[in-house]
């Protein structure tokens, strides 16, 4: 399990996905031009450099609270 996770991570990171991720996360946040009240901003400490992963504005889904 540990080994497959490692291989999987290497595969994804080897594509340079890390770089686009920060950008895409930023995009998703910036595109959130609609109702501000709905746009909770989630801090993503690992991303560093002030990147923030904003809750996507067209959130169709959320975990139902039980």
């Amino acid at each position: 399990m540990e080994k497959t996770n490692f291989k999987r991570r290497n595969f994804l990171l080897g594509l340079g996905l890390g770089g686009v991720g920060a950008a895409a996360a930023l995009l998703a946040g910036k595109s959130a031009a609609a109702p501000e009240a709905e746009t909770a901003v989630v801090e993503t400490p690992q991303a560093g450099k002030g990147y923030r992963l904003s809750e996507h504005v067209q959130t169709y889904y959320r975990k139902a609270r039980i």
């Binding site: 996770n5 594509l15 996905l17 991720g21 910036k30 595109s31 959130t59 169709y60 889904y61 139902a64």
Partner: protein, 204 residues
């Protein structure tokens, strides 16, 4: 083993995956506005070499020369049209030839099992590609105080609801007569989901 003890910060690659799913969901849900076009155009490039990097670069180039009004017009022609758009973005249609058939019912069952519910006020069927990308984002990144799903759960959802039709959908979008900007979106979607497919297969 679906027990997650706490919400760990997302890894670099999961942040990337969540961002790409969010971006695809956003672009398939509605045309990009000027601000989004601008940010895509100015975003970082990917390490060169991969198909994904090529398609990302192409979308950036397309975003640099596209204006919001033209994008809105194109979205209208490609996805909405007069009566029917050139692209049908629904899972059920691609698998059965009809809207709202069994694939939608199966998707709804899986969403219920995952504890995912639509926001009130969203009238669109759940099997719209934008909505399915949005589910993947929630599974990868979690949502608010709910934890991300396990890779096994993500893979199961991808296998059932994306793997069977994303190549057909991407091909239809790339070939749509009015598609210009959305041709670049189609190739990015195809390249990214190919990457996802391969990565899930590594986790076998």
């Amino acid at each position: 083993m679906n027990v997650v003890t706490e919400n760990l910060p997302l890894t670099e690659e999961d942040l990337a995956r969540a961002g790409l799913y969010a971006l695809l969901a956003r672009l398939l849900h509605a045309a990009p506005d000027a601000a989004l076009l601008d940010v895509i155009a100015q975003a970082d490039e990917l390490a060169a070499g991969s198909e994904l990097a090529k398609t990302w670069l192409a979308l950036q180039a397309a975003s640099a020369v596209m204006d919001a009004e033209a994008a809105a017009q194109e979205y209208e022609q490609v996805f909405i049209g007069l009566g029917q758009g050139e692209v049908v973005p629904y899972l059920s249609w691609h698998l059965t030839g009809f809207l709202m058939e069994e694939p939608l019912a199966k998707l709804r069952e899986d969403l219920a099992a995952l504890g995912l519910a639509r926001d009130a006020g969203v009238g669109e069927p759940e099997d719209h590609m934008a909505a399915i990308c949005e589910v993947m984002r929630v599974l990868v990144a979690g949502d608010g105080d709910s934890a991300p799903a396990s890779v096994e759960q993500q893979r199961a959802f991808f296998d059932r609801h994306l793997r069977p039709w994303y190549p057909k959908f991407a091909a239809q979008m790339a070939a749509a007569p009015s598609a210009n900007y959305y041709r670049a979106v189609a190739t990015l979607l195809r390249a990214y989901m190919d990457v996802e497919e391969q990565a899930f297969d590594i986790a076998d």
